[in-house]
């Protein structure tokens, strides 16, 4: 979302009345307009198809059954509470790990690090953003999980904690880049004023620059959360996939199952048109709405910060 004035206004209007009407040109420009609108069309299409395949479950089963504590599709029990709590737990823990790490890294890269350090750090973070989810899941399964098992003496290394750890690293690139943008938007005069008052570089960074960019930090947390909640493959491979209620504190070190992993694991074996099939699409609707709301809120916050104009 790059803001600022569109150069469209500057483009020539008069020249169009030039020689002869160009039908080919008219056709191309109409096509471009249609392509411009296509993204809106796709969002609507996606939601429409999710509703088409998923709504039946909401009519066939009462809300109480859908929010029950037992996800046991073979016996017709579609209580999604364990899945929702599972997703929530893994996501929150991941953001709790990733947000401070990511923001601190962004502050380091933007405000403190010498040029050479920055030129090593930034490409590495880009590499992380490019590593496919299955590859991270594979690494988590074969390397991180055994370590977790050893350290904790747990019966299995495939736990909420392992999942959150892997997810935290997957959402770090998003968090770092948003936080960097926020710091970038803090005017130079803030830093100059801090230093001129006799504050040290650290005091200026910590008490002036970071607080001035805090709305960006909140946005970074939201987008990181949106990313974490929708992650599928890595989470499925490292959380152990047991659909049970994670309520006691020890649940952190037990297997759990998320909404995304449930869809991915079960859709392949389900009869089309069955209640189970509709229920999985129903989870899809919940995920779509959740991420839609998170992104909407983040987009609004970004827009508000731009308009406020105090920064930038």
């Amino acid at each position: 979302m790059s803001g600022g004035a569109s150069p469209a206004g500057v483009a020539p209007r008069a020249s169009r009345s030039g020689s002869r009407p160009r039908w080919s040109e008219f056709a191309v420009e109409s096509l471009i307009r249609v392509l411009g609108f296509s993204t809106v069309g796709f969002v609507v299409l996606i939601f429409a198809f999710l509703l088409r395949e998923g709504l039946p479950v909401f009519f066939k089963l009462p809300a109480a059954a859908l929010l029950g504590e037992l996800w046991y599709p073979t016996f017709g029990s579609f209580g999604s509470l364990p899945l929702i709590l599972g997703s929530a737990l893994v996501t929150l823990l991941a953001v709790l790990i990733a947000l401070p790490l990511g923001v601190a890294t962004a502050v380091f890269v933007r405000e403190v690090a010498p040029r050479w350090a920055r030129e090593i750090l930034k490409p590495l973070i880009e590499v992380l953003a490019g590593i496919p989810s299955v590859v991270l899941g594979f690494f988590g399964m074969t390397t991180v999980a055994p370590l977790v098992r050893q350290w904790l003496g747990a019966p299995t290394g495939l736990t909420v904690f392992t999942g959150a750890l892997v997810l935290a690293y997957m959402s770090l690139p998003t968090i770092i880049s948003v936080a960097e943008d926020a710091l970038d938007a803090v005017p130079r005069s803030y830093r100059d004023a801090g230093l001129a008052m006799g504050a040290t570089h650290w005091q200026t960074t910590w008490r002036v620059v970071v607080p001035a960019g805090r709305s960006g930090v909140i946005i970074a947390g939201m987008l990181g959360m949106g990313r974490a909640i929708g992650e599928t493959m890595a989470v499925m491979m490292v959380t152990g996939n047991a659909a049970r209620l994670p309520i006691d504190p020890a649940a952190l070190f037990r297997p759990v199952r998320t909404m995304t992993a449930t869809i991915a694991a079960e859709m392949g074996e389900v009869a089309r048109g069955s209640l189970h099939y509709h229920a999985l699409f129903g989870i899809g609707i919940v995920l779509f709405v959740l991420t839609f709301l998170i992104n909407l809120a983040a987009a609004r916050a970004i827009f508000r910060r731009r308009r406020k104009g105090g920064l930038r």
């Binding site: 020539p12 601190a104 590499v127 779509f288």
Partner: protein, 282 residues
């Protein structure tokens, strides 16, 4: 005074430590996958069909499948994405509709990959009756890739100075001529970078192809866009979780090939970006 400087040193140290905690695991993951996997890669591994329930032989159909899917994604996502970006950068005014487009892009970028998989299953596989096929998978991946292609292309287009457009117009060019002959060529390196970044994400995705293309074990190459195919990311998932007794060598080799493919594309994109940024005339 000294105390303040000590605090400063401590603070910076902590920030630096945080950066290390972020970066070191990245190095460990990449190095770990490379060190463990590179030994398993041989010419046979890259060029042979899998045998004996995927436990022996190579991963050729998975490599070919991923390349075909990436190509299919590009065929759809590049024209639609570049067109959409041209609209946003060159034609759109700041209206409610333009804002709706931007909002749609943000949301499209945030939709979980598995939800794209559900959508592809509902629309392409079942409703349009493409079946589980390369066609259905490519379309699904293309829609997922659109936001990346559009936003990077738009950024590249906006970076072209306004003067280029004004001069083209002053020479009697129409708006479209200015875009096609001046703005797009100038923005090309940036567009290519964006397209590669989008495609490498598509190449590494598993969730959207689970129910739209991916074949569990299909030791032959696809013949038409309506065929199923194996694909590298799905293959890695299958052999590391679904097949008991799979030799670690095959798993590590597959992970290495997938990571190498994606990182290679990443470096190409980074190279194009820095190479042309230095050489551009403005």
């Amino acid at each position: 005074m000294n105390a303040r400087l000590a605090v400063q040193r401590l603070g910076f140290l902590l920030l630096g430590l945080a950066a290390l905690v972020v970066v070191v695991p990245i190095l460990v993951v990449v190095a770990g996958i490379v060190v463990r996997g590179i030994g398993a890669v041989s010419w046979e591994f890259l060029s042979a069909m899998p045998r004996a329930g995927m436990k022996e032989g190579g991963i050729l159909p998975a490599i070919v499948g991923t390349l075909l899917l990436t190509l299919g994604t590009a065929v759809v996502a590049v024209p639609v994405g570049v067109g959409g970006a041209v609209y946003l950068s060159e034609y759109a005014r700041d209206t409610a509709f333009t804002r709706a487009i931007r909002l749609a892009m943000v949301n499209l970028a945030g939709i979980p990959s598995i939800v794209y998989g559900l959508f592809g299953l509902g629309m392409f596989v079942l409703f349009l009756r493409f079946g589980t096929s390369i066609l259905a998978g490519s379309l699904t991946l293309a829609i997922m890739t659109l936001p990346v292609v559009i936003s990077t292309t738009e950024e590249a287009l906006r970076a072209v100075p306004t003067e280029f457009r004004t001069v083209s117009a002053s020479l009697g060019g129409t708006r479209w001529q200015g875009i096609r002959k001046v703005v797009l060529p100038q923005a090309l390196p940036g567009i290519i970078t964006g397209v590669i970044l989008g495609l490498l994400r598509a190449a590494g995705e598993t969730a959207p192809i689970l129910f739209t293309v991916a074949a569990f074990y299909l030791p032959r190459l696809p013949h038409s866009p309506l065929d199923q195919t194996m694909a590298l990311p799905y293959h890695l998932y299958v052999i590391s979780t679904q097949v008991p007794g799979m030799p670690a060598e095959v798993q590590n080799g597959t992970a290495f090939v997938l990571l190498a493919l994606v990182l290679l594309l990443n470096f190409v994109a980074a190279w194009i970006r820095s190479h042309f940024r230095r050489r551009r005339p403005w």
